[in-house]
Amino acid sequence: MDSIDLSQIERRARRKYEWARARRAVLGFAPSLVLIAVAALLNKHHVSAIAFGIALFVVGSGLLWYGRDVRRAVLPGLAMGLLPLAVALCVNHVGHACLGDRCMTLCVPACAVGGLAAGVGISFIGLRRKQGWPFWVGATLLTLLTGAMGCSCVGYGGVAGLSVGCAIGLLSGLVQRRLRHSR
């Protein structure tokens, strides 16, 4: 047994462990490819939807691979991101609303409202499950990337609307979290 180089065996096992985690993470996040494909098909700006979709897939798989607390953010983040995505894709097909002579695109306000709802949702889950900051960061990132696949309908203005809405939604949760910790 003395002749066995344990550290070499351990290194090899560690490499395989990381590969196995990465494989499981990619497979675990693979169903989101359907969502990305649907979003890319329904969005008028296919390229930006695909770009955000790729980013979403990389970040989601990365969070699952990393594990620990942050992996718990994957499902809530993705689910909350569906709100702005669905709203934006629906509004994308309505286009704009006119009141008399004045017309306005509905995408930006829809994304802001969707982002607000998603932010409130993340706050609710984060506070209820007493999650740490990795959860909040991970879930917010995934929500923004998921929502951005639809909110890129009017360029980066929609994504900005989504981000502002989400930030406002998160604010109340973060304040509550801070108050809870200071007690």
């Binding site: 047994m1 065996i9 351990e10 090899r12 096992a13 560690r14 462990y17 985690r21 594990g67 620990r68």
Partner: protein, 176 residues
Amino acid sequence: MSTEPRPQLDSLLVQLADGERAVFTQVFRILWQPVHRLCSSMLKNDADAADAAQQALEKVLTRCGEYDRKRPALPWALAIAAWECRTIARKRTRRREVPEDEAPVLGSGSEEELAQRELMLAAIDALGELSEQDREALVATFWEEATNVTGATLRKRRERALTRLRDTFKRLYGLD
């Protein structure tokens, strides 16, 4: 082997499955000895035992996400090791890897040894046909590793696993 590291191993394996890399070395070090010992006792060959133990540990660590948190970790890991021993023993039989100089010399002692070895390989083969739970029960019993059950439940489980092992042996080799 002391009983102390077992509950610790269970929680460490759970942590590792959750992605806590800091416990990797600890899990590896706790598992290496019992896994290597099991492989040595099953394969009776140092090189094969080291190969089997290495491959078994790699499998245990890469499959830690599949570990059932309600069950003790060590029998689960040893069941995987027993399966790995079976695979290596099969390969060895198929390729006839035993070199000339290591081949047993004819004579009553070596014949007995050879017969025992063949029997062991057959038993490992039959063990591999059983379910994971049966394998865990038998491995835990015969290699004195703790399971999550004791007393009458363990006896009953072991009895059932032995009956199934006997049936499998009979089915595979046509004898008891």
